[in-house]
């Protein structure tokens, strides 16, 4: 392999690392709650500190337990969403591509920091 090729590959890795750092700085999720989106439209937000199961349309069911959300049922054929890492207070995301369902950690009430302290449930 030539030097140019090594540089190209290292460049891709560097770009990925920089993008990762940038996204982490930009995100600043405190993950107190989750937002569920279906087909690009917001389906609702839920708090993480309350254990419950949520039915998402007729296609998916997710469960909040001990501050963690995971998908427990899905009608899609591959069930990849049920194997993804749970969303917890550190944020994260579960995606069910066939049913277009996204569960992601968000800031409470969406206004983020500095918007006043939310009532603690």
């Amino acid at each position: 392999m030539k030097k140019k090729e090594v540089l190209l590959i290292l460049g891709i890795v560097a770009a990925a690392v920089l993008l990762g750092i940038g996204l982490m700085l930009f995100k600043s999720n405190d993950g107190e709650s989750i937002r569920i989106t279906v087909d690009g439209k917001e389906y609702g937000t839920w708090k993480l500190d309350e254990d419950q199961t949520i039915e998402i349309k007729d296609t998916n069911v997710c469960e909040i337990k001990d501050g963690k959300v995971r998908m427990i049922r899905a009608t899609c054929p591959d069930h990849l969403c049920m194997e993804q890492a749970p969303v917890d207070e550190n944020g994260g995301m579960i995606v069910c591509l066939p049913n277009k369902v996204i569960i992601e950690g968000t800031n409470t009430a969406g206004s983020g920091n500095g918007g006043g302290v939310d009532a603690v449930g």
């Binding site: 590959i9 891709i12 990925a16 591959d78 995301m93 591509l97």
Partner: protein
């Protein structure tokens, strides 16, 4: 690192047809083996890209048209047997972008197989991510991009090295 042959070896037509069929079957089996692995690191879309081994081999030994043929046949076979309309759509987006990028790099540069394979792996993941973002109508999926780029590089190196060995041994 060995150079890829500039001109494909001359085979009688029937032998070439047999090889294309063989590699379509190989690509399908490799794709099936991949569905047996669980999701890596909790991120959907991270795969070894084993099927790319067959596609890359055909691309270097024959032409991009034949590689596209093997790729399309593989996507339809795997999609119909183990996937869905959606998995066919994602596979097509990734495979098309990846094959186009690898063809361009092979034609315009004298990069080694490993580099060509890395470019194929990375562009495959970019293609899948873009089509997922378009279908889901969300930008949130960009958070998967760093992991998908890195995994494209790692699996690209592996598949490139394997394909290089294969090209050396199969005449």
């Amino acid at each position: 690192m060995m150079r890829h042959p500039v001109t494909p070896p001359k085979h009688p037509g029937y032998q070439q047809t047999a090889q294309l069929g063989l590699f379509t079957a190989l690509a399908s089996i490799l794709g099936y083996i991949e569905t047996l692995f669980p999701v890596f690191a909790g991120i959907p879309g991270i795969k070894l890209g084993l099927a790319n081994l067959a596609v890359l081999f055909i691309l270097i030994r024959y032409s991009w048209q034949k590689a596209a043929l093997v790729s399309i046949a593989r996507i339809i076979i795997i999609g119909a047997m183990f996937g869905s309309m959606f998995s066919i759509l994602y596979s097509t987006a990734g495979a098309a972008l990846s094959l186009a990028a690898m063809t361009l790099v092979l034609a315009r540069t004298d990069f080694s197989i490993i580099t060509v394979s890395v470019i194929g792996g990375v562009t495959h993941n970019i293609g899948q991510l873009l089509i997922a973002m378009a279908l889901m109508e969300t930008g949130s999926l960009i958070y998967y991009a760093p992991a998908l780029l890195i995994s494209g590089v790692v699996t690209g190196i592996l598949i490139g090295a394997l394909t290089g060995e294969l090209l050396k041994r199969l005449r």
